[in-house]
Symmetry: C2
Subunit: 495 residues, 2 copies
């Protein structure tokens, strides 16, 4: 009966909109869920059975199921198949479409398909900032008085141009300061005019996705993945293809080549969220794969400023011989989030197109702030802020590692730490049968928010753990909250 | 021979990507131009002939030609058909795709299709700001010292939350101040929590397009149209359907209903660029049309702060009984562009979805600036700034009107002024056979930039004129540059 519904929907869609087959099936399955033909929690027939019933190739079925999983309609469970997710809203779609209007919940249902994905997928359940929230820096140490003095100086010097939009990819002295920093500390090969000052990684990613890929083009992302990047790719209409990622970084297999990428998005120096460092061998392999596919590589070097142990990791961009890596970073994790300044380094051949589109789409402004930041960097305040912060975070990291020690083990399946060498979070890896979402839920009831690793997984079903940020946690908070985490983990460990 | 090439390409595309027919034809025509099969300046066969040769419906052919015109590949000339535009780049597409890499012009060619449109279409040829550049305000009178004092005050009071991202759609006192202003001066019906503080109209438009429409959905735009909005719609993958606009505003006909809109974008109080005020009858008709199609209306009230003559015009939103109008405005035209603060008013049922997606996609920041602006408005500085500016602009407007008077006439086909009742630009309308681009070109050679009205047209071929901004021009500059314009117009007038 399901397959009849799907066939009917696909025929209708094929006639009306001439969508490709995998999109027709995607859409038909989606309708089946929204109309309640496939209920929350229900198990989907296997891809093999679906392919046979619908007379489709297995690849077509897998592509549709992949996209629905990425968008959160479906979830896989180890060894037991694919299920309709619990949070899929059941909407009488046709009725909602037929009678647009007044009733609030109908209005909410009138979001477009992408609007629905943007408003409801890959969003934190709680935006509250807590000791262990990952991705948050401690900006209480930010030198506010100094910053205010610098801002005032540049406001006093402000000539009309500084109040206007900027057309040159950012304030020139700031672009120079960023280029100097990246050349020395991150081995990025660049001139200042390759730097585009953006409002942060989100804007950098969208600019790349829009200028270098078309709607429906495929982007490879690491699985597990950074939510913010997922949002950017959904917003720009890309087809997300998850590529499994292990302790050496992203690891494309032959099967992945069947979904050739236009873009490959990676976090090589500190994989988000596992914290894996991409090995040199994998970096070279990735660049070769990108060359073979004619793909662009987007390198998000989001917290490379904080490295605590192990050898320094250079950028992937530094290994790139043919100008296919676009490198991006942000000041929000280092200074304060609301500053809204980040950077994107583009190959020389793309400078003009990126500058023009950036101007037309975003109308960059806030030039006095850019000028203040340029001076902040030039005068060495950025370096000394980093030094101080590194010291603070190193202590917090150490404290957290000690707090978690009681729960760690030596066995191949025992809890272990990954990704603590760098950045502002680490990952407490748990055995594959642990219910990490239940642990996070229990801790939330006790008032403590940690993120389950499985919530970052797109297609993988084998990863369990807790992603724990320590950027915002004081030593006292870590000492108090750490034992809450270990207790919850102990209780939940299988066997 | 052309039709053979098109048929072969369409067959290939139909097999590979299963695109709808009009998209196949669009793509085949695009390739024909890029490969040089259709040369710049060459005349396209009529839509009737193409339909017959390719065995397609005339509607399919018209849809493809429309899209290519909107994206600037084709241009229509009155009474003589459709031509390939001069600026279409001839690229050996296949070669560029086969050998990605090093050579700069090949890299440039590796922009995606949408990247190409974003980087090269609807962009000003020169970003230089000059006396008559439209869309520019004079921010030399902006009270810098006062503004700096307010900013300092809020930086001193800054508690950590103010340095972080904002999750509630903007700083609450700013949202209240905006709501109070809009309720009183623009007759917008709203509560403060319906206000989303954005970085400006571009961000407001993209948010609406992404949350309320899917890729390929149709947006109706006024013809002629605002370039910035075109960019936002191209960037978000919408199909742009131009609707002819006359002196009473947008005027949808029966033929337009064949392209049912998901969104309708309008500038009712001062049509950009003609300056037409949408009449009450047209407003009611537009809301009825939107209701009939279940479409959302995006009202861009971009320069409503400056009204010089005629009755005050309320917002379209104020007439809306069923919550389908999203209203937007910006502070950049009133205070200074680099401030990067605008607002979007959403119906109550959409508040949560818009706040969440706005946070996830844009991570709004700059809270101390938002706080300073809230106080700037509350303390009456905004109102007094507006009063002073209105006085200044009224004088400039008068001066420009006098400078242009020598060229105006009384006949039905004589040069006339439109849109001078409001805003910071007016439109000098010229007879349909005038070459307004040649006038603009001649003035550019003399060092003066004005924009030809025909450059804003999407499908219309009958509009000629000059769009002249006076927001940034001093009285002296107007007195000096005005006669340059009238001289160039006199020389170019037909007959």
């Amino acid at each position: 009966m399901l397959s009849e519904f799907l066939l009917a929907e696909m025929t209708r869609l094929g006639t009306q909109d001439a969508l490709p087959l995998h999109r027709q099936l995607y859409e038909a399955l989606r309708r089946a869920m929204l109309d309640g033909k496939l209920a929350a929690g229900e198990r989907l027939p296997s891809s093999r059975d679906l392919a046979q019933d619908l007379d489709l190739s297995r690849n077509t079925v897998v592509a549709a199921i992949n996209q629905l999983s990425v968008e959160g309609y479906l979830a896989s469970r180890v060894g037991s198949g694919t299920y309709v997710n619990d949070h899929v809203p059941r909407v009488n779609h046709r009725a909602a479409r037929g009678a647009p209007g007044q009733v609030p919940h109908l209005q909410a249902a009138r979001l477009s398909q992408r609007g629905d994905a943007l408003a409801h997928r890959f969003s934190a359940q709680s935006l509250e900032v807590q000791p262990f929230t990952p991705g948050i820096a401690d900006f209480s140490a930010f030198p506010l008085a100094l910053w205010q003095r610098l801002q005032n100086k540049h406001w006093r010097m402000t000539y009309p141009d500084m109040l206007d939009y900027n057309t040159s990819g950012g304030y020139a002295p700031l672009r120079r300061a960023i280029a100097d920093y990246l050349r020395v500390f991150r081995s990025v090969q660049l001139d200042a005019d390759q730097v585009i000052v953006t409002t942060g990684t989100q804007q950098s990613l969208e600019l790349c996705a829009r200028l270098l890929a078309d709607h429906g083009d495929t982007v490879w992302v690491e699985d597990p993945a950074y939510w913010g990047a997922m949002k950017a790719f959904i917003a720009t209409g890309l087809t997300v293809h998850p590529v499994a990622t292990d302790d050496e970084g992203i690891h494309p297999r032959e099967a992945d080549d069947a979904q050739p990428p236009k873009l490959i998005y990676v976090t090589p120096s500190h994989q988000y969220p596992t914290g894996a460092v991409m090995t040199l061998a994998r970096r070279q392999q990735l660049l070769a794969t990108a060359r073979q596919h004619g793909a662009w590589v987007l390198e998000d070097d989001y917290d490379s400023e904080y490295r605590f142990s192990g050898p320094p990791i250079s950028s992937l961009e530094g290994l790139d011989a043919d100008g296919r890596v676009l490198y991006m970073g942000t000041f929000s994790k280092v200074l304060y989030p609301g500053l809204k300044l980040g950077y994107l380094v583009v190959p020389k051949g793309l400078i003009e197109a990126f500058r023009q589109a950036h101007y037309d789409l975003h109308r960059p402004g806030h030039m006095p702030t850019q000028a203040a930041l340029a001076e902040f960097i030039e005068m060495g305040h950025f370096a000394s802020s980093l030094r101080r912060a590194r010291q603070t975070y190193a202590e917090r990291r150490q404290c957290l590692l000690e707090a978690l020690r009681p729960v760690l083990g030596d066995g191949p399946d025992a809890p272990r730490i990954s990704g603590a060498e760098q950045g502002l979070h680490l990952c407490l890896r748990l055995p594959a049968r642990t219910d990490d979402q239940a642990i996070a839920h229990r801790l939330a009831q006790q008032g403590l928010i940690v993120r389950p690793l499985s919530a970052y997984c797109l297609r993988r079903t084998d990863l369990r753990g807790l992603v724990i940020g320590y950027g915002y946690a004081t030593l006292g908070e870590i000492a108090r909250c750490g034992p809450m985490v270990t207790a919850a983990v102990q209780r939940a460990l299988p066997g």
